[in-house]
Amino acid sequence: MSQSLLKAEHVKISFGNVHALRDVSLEILPGEIHCLAGENGCGKSTIIKIISGVYQRDGGTIEFDGKKLEKISPIDAINMGIQVIYQDFALFPNLTVAENLALNTELASRKKTVSWKNVRKIAEEAVAKINFDVDLDEKVEKLSVAQKQMVAISRALMSNARLIIMDEPTTALTKKEVNSLFKIILKLKEQGIAILFISHKLNEVFEISDRFTIFRNGEMVATGSTKDLDDKKFTYYMTGREFNDQIFVPENMSEKPVFELKNLTLEGAFEAINFSLRRGEILGITGLLDSGRTELALSMFGLKPADSGEILKEGTPIKITNPRDAIEHKIGYVPEDRLSEGLFLTQSIGDNIIISEIDKLKKKNGQFDLKKRDEEIKRWVAELEIKTKNPDNPATTLSGGNQQRIVLAKWLACNLDVLILNGPTVGVDIGSKHDIHMVLQKLAKQGLGVIIISDDLPEVIQNCNRVLVIKNGKIRSEYDTQKVSEQMIIDDMM
């Protein structure tokens, strides 16, 4: 029976009236890959902050390497060998790779001056550990997301890490990059380093981790070996609900297409895109991160107008040169990154909901019809079951899943004919993901034309009736989702 590396038992912590963690336990064995999963708000980030010394727990015990931990600071945690790689990597975009790598070491040595020769030496050693080939003099802001992650990992390895904690490391990576990351994680395991990574993607849990732990609402609900886990159990542990995910079967599709693209081209992004969308359909568009799928989405919405080709609405060619044109033609867009593209976080839930249809809420004399505004807000909060006590509260008071619902509400309030969604359930917990899918299916059945752009293949296959695969800016193939398999799509994408 090997001694655990990290053993947290019955840990709890509260912030004011909010009990972020009620009773969680977490055990990580030396050199294992452990996955911590749970819906947004379940306490995953909180336990990490406690382990790494940023927060102090209110109750329970934590042992690291057999030693009981009392009050530790972030520096203490680092010195013990606990390294955290946050989602934003905590790098300095304006400094070079070399400096980013060496800064922590320089700080720890308590010297007052900087020796650039030393910085370079430290940096070279760091990247050698994972064979990371990069220009050390390049400013970090110029690197790709995957490269930045490599820098963060290299930096984490520099101080004799025993446990590396990664917070949702695969969110912004392409499939290829995820594979590279997993190779590196395995390499780290060979070196005896334990990895705790936070994820809610089931396939990742299965692919890479030895053991898992699942939190729900601040409590630990399951832990064990990944061998004993399956789809259904995972979903049940995460949400406490059982889902029967219905595969989308279109009803009442319109005869004529509501939205068509003819030969749409944007230099450097995509070329000669053709497709048509009928009311009642959910069309899926999938491809790798840099296949042009996001640019296509932005084009259809007017943020990156195409160079040539036509867009037709109900058979008539239309010009879309900015988002307002799109909205006027009843086309809406739910962006990838809802936090930085879809929501005004500090503003009220109500304002977030009505902002895109705001010009329609005017009285005859041009004044803002506040009564109508309030009615609209009430309506959409109810229809999308947004859990809030008061729509005047800022959007930050909501959970991630509910925030995504506000973004949906915003567009639905515009009475659209076509809704384009880019990565609609990225970063959304399983429960809300299911709910959002159900809403989309319902809307399609009510007559909306829906386009889902996503690289989450199960999501695409289950919720769309047709799927287009884009590769290198061109449409590679089109499938009926009832007759296609994930592997076929993957083969086409690569």
């Binding site: 972030p74 520096i75 905590a90 790098l91 300095f92 975009p93 304006n94 400094l95 400096e99 800064l103 922590n104 320089e106 700080l107 720890a108 010297k111 007052k112 001056t113 900087v114 802001e141 110029k142 690197l143 790709s144 995957a146 392409t174 450097g268 991160l289 840099d290």
Partner: protein
């Protein structure tokens, strides 16, 4: 090598340098007087106080903050110092003046530093407030008025010649006072601190990502606090230099300079948002504005047009900078795509 050259031309500095040279040539053609020792000395003289202020502001901007109180701070320290020395009938070396001013400046800067560093309040608003407080204190409590006579030591320092250049054509002489050395020394020190000390790298780090700086182990609050103290000290040095060179102490003379100084520093490629910019750029940008202001006569343009041209330079300069940075961000996205 090609990559390095490409990198150089992505930043502002070479462009500003080019413009300065071109302007110089234009003035030379028009007046034949630009590249004379006389004129160069005049320009360098005019650069001293703004240059010191620019160095101070440069630090603030790099850290992601800003300071609009430095003219008021400098005025207050300079006035208080001069008054104290006058009242005591001081006859000695100017060194004491600098010492007293630096101490006062450190104290005043610490006020800024406390609110911005420790309480993390908005730098623009705090320094706006302290600017009023310093001004009000100087003119209200100290009842500052013009001091036409200044201590011997200061006067001497401001007028003794470090370098004299005489124009052979019209016989005019220009004196570059020793205060220029002060500028050189402060500039060199700042360069060293920003490049070779942890404190200096900390300022860049904070400007890049303050949160990460904290997690990395920088004491962000203390760094900012000390930084504003240093800004106060440098600004006060600038104030004393001003008094020495003008041979009198006018309490409100320097007020209102803040915006032009900030404009000059930004023209040199320092980002308002923090984390980016070089000392070279800062000095070049400031020099450009000084150049425009001081070349009016040589170009035969009446000095009433000075603000018009400075305003134009600022507007055109910042427009070009803005266009260039949106261009580089677009090409950055392209490059990343190609690399991925």
């Amino acid at each position: 090598m090609k990559k390095k050259v490409k990198k150089i031309f992505q930043s502002n500095e070479p462009y500003i340098f080019l413009i300065i040279i071109i302007l110089g040539i234009v003035v030379q053609i028009r007046s034949g007087q630009f590249f004379t020792g006389n004129n160069i000395v005049d320009l360098l003289s005019a650069m001293i106080v703004p240059g010191l202020f620019a160095i101070a502001e440069f630090m603030a901007l790099i850290s992601g903050g800003i300071d609009v109180s430095f003219p008021a701070l400098a005025s207050l320290s300079a006035y208080a110092t001069t008054k104290i020395l006058l009242d005591k009938g001081y006859e000695g070396n100017v060194f004491l003046a600098f010492l007293i001013a630096v101490l006062i400046g450190a104290f005043l800067g610490a006020i800024n530093g406390y609110f911005i560093g420790y309480l993390n309040l908005n730098a623009m608003i705090v320094t706006l407030g302290t600017s009023s407080i310093f001004q009000g204190f100087m003119q209200g409590t100290l009842r500052a008025n013009q001091l036409s006579v200044i201590p011997q030591g200061m006067k001497k320092f401001g007028t003794d010649s470090f370098i004299t250049a005489t124009n052979k054509v019209n016989g005019l002489s220009s004196v570059l006072p020793y205060t220029f050395l002060i500028l050189i020394i402060v500039c060199a020190l700042m360069f060293f601190v920003l490049r070779y000390t942890i404190f200096g790298r900390g300022i860049y780090a904070i400007g890049g990502n303050a949160l990460s700086a904290h997690t990395a182990g920088f004491n962000v609050k203390r760094t900012k606090f000390i930084m504003y103290i240093i800004i106060g000290m440098i600004a006060s040095i600038g104030g004393i230099c001003r008094v020495c060179m003008m041979q009198q102490c006018h309490p409100t003379n320097m007020l209102g300079m803040e915006m032009n100084i900030i404009a000059g520093v930004v023209l040199g490629g320092v980002a308002l948002t923090g984390g980016a910019g070089t000392l070279t750029g800062c000095m070049l940008g400031t020099f450009l504005i000084i150049l425009v202001q001081n070349s009016m006569i040589l170009l035969g343009i009446p000095t009433t047009w000075s603000d018009v041209f400075v305003g134009l330079v600022i507007v055109i300069g910042v427009s070009l900078t803005a266009l260039q940075s949106s261009r580089t961000s677009r090409s950055k996205k392209k490059a990343v795509k190609e690399g991925a």
